[in-house]
């Protein structure tokens, strides 16, 4: 509908199911507002000219009943219009809250100043997101430092990534192509360069792209580093003097716990073991493992989990870190691929560490 009335350069590209709805409401509101502005400005200008000082217009007094009727009239009319707009907008919104059950799940972790995405099928990307057209995609966002906001204008989609919490939203792309991904919550120096792109592909292309992805490598590498850095290795390494379980090969096993219960080792269990070790004690061990709650970010827990998973899943050796820095298989060098829309923007693949600052 809009295309008929509004020139293309005045409308942002619309590439999701939600975009069409938003545009419809926006268009409707614009029409209503334009009408109101016309009425108000029209009346003001007419009165100003007709009743300009010294003009011959009739200036008889107003009948004294007029005022109250008018007031009630236009109050009611305005209220009615407002309620209508609210209802219209709210109903579109309510429909958009719950994602369909079969949605592809994608975890988004934001940090200063890059986006890391990981699909439930393992594909990890930086500042990029590949999705198939026509399939609902559910995003679970979090941040490792400050608040960021995940914004894809073409999808009319925005959701803040809040540290310490997980927020959710979803979309369904309706067009293939490459679209802007931007950060819209002020997050520091390179806020305006925290950009990326969303690549919407035909389902078969997407499948091909996906199968070319190495699985979860980067994450596991980072986790491996953390494992020594944070002192896990001190207890869990095979040669450690402390009596703690060897974690290699643990993933997916069912292990006995103190008190007779058993548990299957999955991401949730590992997360609990790290953050609340006192809860489930592995049978035969003392509850000496310290809690890492607050010491590890969500992203780091994810990385450790990936590492432990890699230890358990494949061969026992993990490839040494640093080989493929980016998991994306899009042609071109990193500079061409990354936030290429902004001239002169650095490629934020290796952002400067942004530690907590001590300010004046």
């Amino acid at each position: 509908m809009m295309q008929r009335f509004v020139p293309a350069w005045l409308m942002p590209e619309a590439a999701s199911t939600q975009a069409a709805k938003v545009d419809a409401i926006f268009f409707g509101l614009t029409v209503i507002s334009a009408a109101i502005v016309l009425v108000v400005v029209g009346l003001v200008v007419t009165f100003a000219i007709r009743f300009r000082r010294g003009s011959k217009a009739d200036r008889g007094a107003l009948p004294s009943v007029v005022s109250r009727e008018f007031e009630i009239g236009w109050t009611a009319a305005t209220l009615f219009v407002f309620l209508f707009i609210f209802w219209w907008a709210a109903s579109a919104e309510i429909g958009a809250y719950t994602p369909p059950k079969d949605a592809i799940e994608i975890h988004v972790v934001a940090n200063q100043w890059m986006w890391k995405t990981q699909a439930s099928n393992g594909a990890r990307e930086i500042n990029e997101l590949h999705v198939p057209v026509g399939a609902p995609v559910r995003l679970m966002l979090t941040s490792q430092d400050v608040i960021h906001s995940f914004y894809i204008p073409a999808f009319r989609l925005k959701r803040d990534a809040v540290p310490g919490r997980q927020t959710e939203t979803w979309f369904q792309a309706t067009k293939t192509g490459t679209f802007h991904l931007m950060c819209t919550e002020f997050c520091g120096t390179d806020h305006s360069r925290m950009l990326g792109r969303v690549i919407v592909m035909e389902p078969q292309d997407y499948a091909a792209w996906l199968s070319a992805q190495p699985e979860g490598d980067d994450l596991a590498h980072a986790g491996e580093r953390l494992f020594t850095e944070r002192g896990c290795a001190g207890c869990h390494a095979p040669g450690s003097t402390i009596h703690a379980p060897d974690l290699a090969g643990l993933w997916g096993k069912t292990i006995p716990l103190e008190g007779g219960r058993t548990v299957t080792v999955d991401a949730a269990y590992i997360r609990d073991s790290i953050l609340q070790p006192a809860r489930d004690i592995a049978a035969g061990y003392a509850p000496i493992m310290p809690s890492y709650a607050g010491l590890l970010t969500d992203g780091e827990v994810q990385e450790l989990t990936a590492y432990l998973r890699a230890l358990g899943a494949g061969p026992r050796t993990v490839r040494s870190p640093g080989v493929p820095p980016l998991s994306s298989r899009v042609p071109g060098s990193a500079r061409e691929r990354s936030p290429a829309m902004v001239p002169g923007a650095p490629v934020a693949d290796t952002p400067a560490p942004a530690g907590p600052a001590v300010g004046p």
């Binding site: 005045l10 938003v22 009743f51 806020h191 305006s192 902004v342």
Partner: protein, 565 residues
């Protein structure tokens, strides 16, 4: 004088009719710097505020100029990222807390509130002076923060960025805003007590000029919203300067809670910025259309309703923050409700023009501009209150355009309208009307050129607080930056001709606009004690024409004629 004055609804001698031997004006009561810095005269304090506010306006404006200069091209070619971030933060912080929030209340409010209700001064004159010093102290702290390297958090100080990550002078700036906050609380206490207890005999609640009502309702917000901001800023300070865990999510804190606390203040604060403007506009429109304001009682109820309901809507700034969807719907609904009284006001102003004797002196030009710009700004507020649209345009230039339409297009225009309307009363001098008209028209066009393109850029998806931006948005930014240049000229003009008029302007009559209202029933400038004799009020305000008869042909005396007289 005219028969009109004889019907004036006050039992107060018109100074024009008095013999000579008028008491000296408040300006003449002491010329030393000390006599200004220790004054408890509300009129002098208003002048003090006027000076500091002008300073801050141009400081904020200079930062805006730098921002617009940088955004002329998509690349970073003028300042670096960190500098840019500091520039818009400085712009927002200064403009909001040190210019617009105190602007009308502390200048015209201070000067006129006692005059309009027939009092000798505000209820607590010393507190009033303290309040100015607090304001100045806060401003100086903010200035120190700028000298100490600036602040880069945005005017919203969102955590954890502001508490844990930013390495700029946030603590000092926050302290500055905190101190300035107490200044406005003091002003609010003073205004409320004054309106309740110092009205002249016969000045009933429903005879108060709408400007006084606007001051009263604004003060309610001052008193009830500002403390929440004060506490929130203290919490930020505690976390940042003393390392206490408060909002830091790494230690279990809740950054969304900060946003609730911040917006509980800052949404009502936007009504602090618009209610006084509405008061000024009501005075100007009746005066220059020579008509009693249409629907006076509804105008009063609307002011009160905006002030009260305005407290219920703050969550509309947090639609995308991960707030619960049910809360979001509730806040969206309440945001629509608060717009209804604004609509009442717009329609009533329009109806006041009907069958008037409309003159186009500069205050009226600003007021007419206000009507259009406020309507556009307010209606785009409704776009933002609709959740699906807000999800798209939140933190884009659409929002920037929305609030500049209201804060600059409407509120700053109203400030200039009031400045021109009451300039003769405050200084005793007339300003050059032709220049003033030209500046008003230039401001209107410069304004629209600056900010209308931002609506489009915003809907196309240009995020705010962006130092560099995708090149497809450049055309809109070029338009906007050129508009800003025009706007800068338009704002510099009054600075010039108003200063000129203080020294060289024609002497003003006591009631140059032939307006009603007690403030015109005294000399220009008024004496220290405000009135010559005791005030009693006999009738309702805006007595521009006897009931049942058309507006008198009585027209404002054109200032240009005055200068010859």
């Amino acid at each position: 004088m005219s028969p009109h004055i004889a019907q004036s609804p006050t039992a107060l001698a018109d100074p024009d009719e008095l013999a000579l031997g008028l008491p000296e004006s408040y300006l003449a009561a002491g010329h030393t710097l000390g006599s200004w810095l220790t004054t408890t005269d509300h009129k002098r304090i208003a002048i003090l505020y006027g000076l500091s506010i002008t300073l801050f306006f141009f400081l904020g404006g200079a930062a805006a100029t730098a921002v617009r200069l940088e955004l002329f091209t998509p690349e970073a070619d003028f300042v670096g990222s960190d500098t840019y971030n500091k520039l818009f933060t400085l712009h927002g912080v200064i403009m909001v807390w040190f210019f617009l929030i105190p602007s009308i209340p502390t200048t015209f409010g201070n000067f006129l509130l006692p005059l309009m209700i027939g009092a000798r001064d505000l209820a607590f004159p010393k507190l009033n002076l303290v309040s100015w010093y607090l304001n100045l102290g806060g401003g100086l702290l903010a200035a120190v923060a700028v000298l100490a390297g600036g602040i880069d958090t945005g005017w919203t100080f969102y955590v954890p960025y502001a508490t844990v990550f930013s390495d700029t002078a946030v603590s000092v700036a926050v302290l500055g805003v905190f101190v300035a906050g107490f200044s406005t609380i003091a002003t609010g206490v003073n205004f409320i007590a004054t309106v309740h207890l110092l009205r002249a005999p016969g000045m009933t609640w429903f005879r108060l000029p709408l400007f006084v009502w606007a001051m009263y309702t604004t003060s309610l917000i001052f008193v009830l919203a500002t403390p929440v901001l004060a506490l929130t800023l203290l919490l930020v300070l505690a976390e940042r300067a003393f390392g206490l865990p408060i909002f830091d999510p790494a230690r279990g804190g809740d950054p969304i809670l900060f946003q609730h606390l911040f917006w509980f203040y800052s949404h009502p604060a936007v009504y602090i910025m618009i209610l006084p403007a509405m008061g000024v506009i009501s005075e100007v429109i009746t005066c220059f259309s020579r008509r009693v304001v249409f629907g006076y009682t509804f105008m009063v109820y609307a002011l009160v309703a905006i002030a009260v309901i305005g407290f219920f809507t703050w969550g509309h700034h947090m639609f995308t923050s991960g707030m619960s969807p049910y809360a979001a719907l509730l806040f969206s609904f309440l945001s629509f409700i608060v717009a209804v009284p604004s609509a009442i006001k717009v329609f009533n102003w329009t109806a006041t023009l009907y069958r008037g004797q409309i003159g186009f002196e500069s205050p009226m030009l600003y007021a007419l501009g206000f009507l259009g710009l406020f309507t556009v700004g307010g209606l785009t507020g409704l776009f933002l209150a609709s959740i699906p649209i807000d999800v798209h345009v939140q933190d884009t230039y659409f929002v920037v355009a929305h609030f500049h339409y209201i804060m600059v297009g409407a509120s700053v225009s109203a400030y200039f309208a009031g400045l021109h309307l009451w300039w003769p009363k405050i200084t005793g001098r007339m300003y050059p009307e032709t220049w003033a008209k030209f500046a008003a028209i230039l401001m209107f066009f410069g304004f629209n050129l600056t900010f209308f393109p931002q609506f489009i850029a915003g809907y196309l998806g240009m995020p705010r607080r962006y130092h560099v931006y995708p090149p497809e948005f450049q055309v809109w930014n070029v338009l906007s930056s050129s508009g800003a240049a025009v706007l800068a000229v338009a704002y510099l003009m009054p600075l010039g001709y108003l200063t000129w008029s203080v020294f060289f302007g024609a002497r003003a009559r006591n009631d140059p606009w032939n307006a009603t209202g007690l403030e015109w029933r005294t000399t220009s400038p008024p004496p220290r004690d405000n009135f010559l004799g005791r005030v009693a009020v006999l009738g309702p305000p805006y007595d521009y024409h006897p009931a049942g008869s058309p507006p008198t042909q009585d027209q404002p005396h054109l200032p240009t004629q005055e200068s010859q007289a």
